[in-house]
Assembly symmetry: C2
Homo-oligomer: 235 residues x 2
């Protein structure tokens, strides 16, 4: 099977949760907008010029003749064949639940730098961003991290679902990395030993480590989903 | 099978997407926090005092000994047994994708009245809310409605997946209802004939109609996920 990933070239963004799953699984995938098809191929789907249910936004994945958008839906769909989720339906639903909670944290983190509208520049909503950053770093990161600590405590194993890695673990790695880049001071203040251990454990998995060291892993930037603006993360 | 729904009593909120699915399916369910168990039963799960992966927030559903949170994960998990999604995995993934797009619209609509922090009162973020409302009503509602129009156009049937109703149709009904309550002027300005027809069609389904006329259907209010503040929806 060959997978086609469609996502904005140049940023990790939400596409990174899907890239990490493909990389850890050693899947045969192509990052279309960054390589062969370019942006044109992606835009055809977004304009509804291709068959099937159109995507509202990237990322989306094509496998054979099926196209699915929305990060959590993509992962729920592909994780069984990638071997990145337990077999039983109950734990698959739990994985979906946890992925959606990671997605909520990512969306809240994005809205720190864009609290008014995605269509406006950061500079045009900086006053509001300063206010929102205070609440996000002071209340929300601690609340989410505390929650994931409890989840890991209950798992009893090295990963969320025990001893085998799942896409949820990869996504937790990614959100911790993203927040540590965007809000290094605030993130460092949160006590979350299990989450940090998990982050390190995922980072050292051979395929993940090889991916992170490769040119396929894009650098964080102030074009990304999570952004580092020093004024939003005071010491 | 008896389902237990846990959600904040007194509002439709995200729980309503799950309630509509149970109602349309004629399922045997209890709305725990509003009836037998009260808030205490719900809080035990939120504090992690029950078995399994804890919920980050309501809604969550218990069926037998399995508990799943996050609206879209609940629906993806239960829709097959409720008969509210097609059989094949590809269309189940599409349903998940569409539900998540409805969820994004709902979350953006919520953040109109709480653009800075959920922990602050609306009155303490009203200046920012006025600015965000302008972008949401002017850009986002039209963009999402236009997208759902295209999805319905491609379906070719009465519902998103042809001639049989799915949970996505129920959710589209709910989001259109919620936005028409919260932003009546802005919503009326958006041309979306197929979406409005679908809204009406779902509303007239016997079980949905009976539910909407019952006391189980809570009224909209300014405590809800989507709220009507006249200043955020000028004529």
């Amino acid at each position: 099977v060959r997978y086609e990933l469609y996502y904005w070239p140049g940023i990790q963004g939400r596409g990174e949760f899907v890239r990490l799953a493909f990389e850890e699984a050693g899947a045969d995938y192509v990052d279309v907008a960054r390589t062969e098809g370019g942006m044109d191929a992606m835009m055809r789907f977004l304009r509804g010029q291709e068959e099937g249910v159109p995507p509202f936004a990237p990322p989306f994945v094509r496998r054979d003749d099926v196209v699915v958008a929305q990060t959590a839906a993509i992962l729920r769909w592909l994780a069984p064949e990638l071997g990145l989720v337990p077999q039983d339906e109950a734990r698959r639903a739990s994985a979906d639940q946890l992925q959606l909670t990671v997605a909520d944290l990512a969306a809240e983190g994005h809205d720190v730098h864009h609290p008014i509208a995605s269509s406006l520049y950061y500079e045009d909503q900086k006053t509001e961003a300063l206010r929102r950053a205070k609440a996000f770093t002071g209340e929300r990161i601690p609340k989410f991290f505390g929650y994931f600590e409890r989840v890991l405590e209950k798992s009893g194993g090295e990963y969320v679902f025990g001893d085998r890695v799942s896409y949820v673990d990869l996504s937790l790695f990614q959100i911790v990395s993203g927040l540590a880049y965007a809000f290094p001071n605030a993130t460092a203040r949160v006590k979350a030993p299990r989450l940090r251990e998990l982050h390190q454990r995922v980072k050292e998995r051979p395929r993940v480590a090889a991916y992170l060291a490769s040119e396929r892993r894009l650098r964080e930037s102030t074009d990304d989903l999570l952004r580092h603006y020093p004024e939003l993360d005071p010491a």
